[in-house]
């Protein structure tokens, strides 16, 4: 059957869904609506190789416009600001109307904004898209003392990149460790040490009382009365799913758009995928929302399958990475529901991994190592989680024993 399929939000989940739908359905119209004026692109390099000038705009696109033309996938550069689920219509600001038979929402997430002083709102910078990355890259050329508010992944990646550009960087984090409680404290400390070794200042456990602008300098006053002078402020204080558009509709929302394991929302013919979706994971038997590259890809593909009639459960084990200096951090599974923690290795040169176990099975793991040192073990861990394997703690904790010994032979 020929359908009008609209994908709202032109990012990673969108493009993977579109290509997947086309694989199974050569007839339907597929249109991606994206408010950014460029085709879907990869965001991970924005805080890393793009700032470092090792990757450029043309390196970031998932597919060229030729591929989209070949696949008969349309891309309209519009921002949708009203949705009428009952009549299956989307509206732009100028009241242009798009009608759909099937809708996929993949609007991603947006950065939380600082609320300190309304007069300074335009003085603080955030990083989510290519436009913002270009602006930051340009401005930092003439700045030396840079303060990053928030010690999460994106803030720390920016801190690492700017330090490599010889900037003096200060990171202010409200919590008592970097990257939030989900990361084992030992790993957060190793990351912190690396930042300090490269000359970055890391301030933990401090809140910002106020920021005062004096000419081109900002004075940041902390709650212990200490003062930081800086000439550029970037905030990375977390993100929220982009769901404002749906707040007064009957689409079920709860920390994102609630979806089942088939990417279906509470409204018939409306699907959601990627950062914006709070999806049910059958293996963990709970809902979760992820902001990661691999999830956006796989969830987009899964939504594409379900939209085109290939009923498919989403069972991917969560996985993400963060690169800072020459360190590569990886998380697999979930690390907030466990009875026991097992440590493997103690030095970043060979990799350090913390496994989180429940009922003798691994629920998740977090590893840190120089370049890809933990990659293989984390990958094998993902397989062990997938197969729900009862694991031998002794092998897990001994870096001299290969983890693939734990994978059950068929």
């Amino acid at each position: 059957m020929k359908n009008n399929i609209i994908i709202l939000g032109g990012g990673q989940a969108a493009i993977y869904a579109a290509i997947e739908i086309r694989k199974n359905d050569t007839e339907s119209n597929i249109k991606i609506l994206g408010e950014e004026s460029i085709l879907p692109y990869e965001r991970p390099p924005l805080s890393k190789d793009f700032l470092l000038d090792k990757k450029h705009e043309e390196d970031l696109f998932f597919h060229s416009s030729d591929v989209l033309i070949n696949e008969n996938i349309d891309f309209d550069n519009v921002s949708i600001n009203k949705v009428d689920f009952e009549n299956k219509k989307l509206f732009t600001k100028n009241d242009n109307v798009y009608s759909y038979d099937i809708l996929l929402i993949s609007t991603g997430s947006e950065n939380k904004k600082l609320c300190l002083d309304d007069n300074l709102n335009n003085d603080f910078y955030y990083l989510r898209n290519l436009e913002e990355a270009k602006i930051i890259k340009e401005i930092v050329l003439n700045k030396n003392q840079i303060t990053i508010i928030g010690g999460g992944f994106i803030g720390l990646e920016i801190a690492s990149s700017l330090s490599q550009l010889q900037k003096k960087v200060t990171v202010i984090e409200i919590g008592n460790q970097l990257m939030g409680r989900i990361i084992p404290k030992q790993i957060a400390d190793l990351v912190q040490n690396t930042h300090i070794e490269h000359g970055n200042e890391i301030i933990l456990n401090k809140q910002i009382d106020k920021i005062i602008k004096k000419n081109d300098i900002y004075e940041i006053l902390l709650n212990d009365n200490s003062l930081i002078e800086t000439d550029f402020v970037i905030a990375g204080i977390g993100s929220t799913p982009s769901i404002k558009l749906f707040e007064n509709t009957n689409l079920k929302l709860d920390n994102g758009i609630v979806t089942n394991q088939f990417c279906e929302t509470s409204i018939k013919d409306v699907y959601a995928a990627g950062d914006v979706s709070n999806f049910y994971h059958p293996l963990y038997e709970r809902n979760m929302r992820l902001e990661s590259y691999q999830h956006a890809q796989n969830h987009g593909i899964c939504a594409g399958k379900n939209i085109s009639g290939v009923k498919t459960e989403y069972t991917s084990i969560p996985w993400m990475w963060s690169d800072q200096f020459n360190l590569n951090l990886q998380l697999t599974g979930i690390c907030d529901d466990y009875e026991e923690i097992i440590e493997r290795g103690s030095e970043i040169n060979n990799g350090v991994i913390y496994f989180f176990l429940k009922n003798k099975k691994i629920r998740g793991a977090c590893g840190l190592g120089i370049l890809g040192k933990v990659g293989r073990d984390i990958r094998i861990t993902t397989k062990l989680i997938e197969k729900n394997t009862i694991v031998d703690r002794q092998i897990l904790s001994d870096q001299n024993q290969k983890l693939n010994k734990l994978i059950p032979k068929l």
Partner: protein, 105 residues
């Protein structure tokens, strides 16, 4: 085909099945793999970023990069999964008297 381009990598038993070893020659790094049907060789550095594939995982005919899980077909070098999108260079391999040789151009 000139003989001198075949470089000795080591003995066949230096690589376990479904595994790889890193081989450095002059200023280049290679990976040499032992799959169920023989030996294969590719560049040793991922095409996505400067990361050694020696720490990656070999699964069937594929090598998965340890950094961001980009996947390549070992036999053809084809990039199969993002963020890797540029193919990996492959090299001919021969085995002579239980020794592995790769042909570097």
């Amino acid at each position: 085909m000139s003989e001198e381009n075949w470089i000795e990598v080591g003995s066949t038993d230096s690589i376990e099945e479904e595994d790889l070893i890193r081989f450095d020659h002059q200023d280049k790094t290679f990976c040499v793999y032992r799959l169920t049907d023989g030996f294969y060789a590719t560049d040793g550095i991922c095409t996505h970023e400067e990361v050694h594939l020696e720490d990656g995982l070999v699964m069937d005919d594929e090598i998965e990069c340890p950094m961001h899980q980009g996947i390549f077909n070992i036999k053809s070098g084809k990039a199969l999964s993002p963020p890797a999108c540029v193919d990996l260079k492959t090299y001919p391999v021969k085995v002579d008297n239980d020794k592995i040789f790769i042909k570097i151009d």
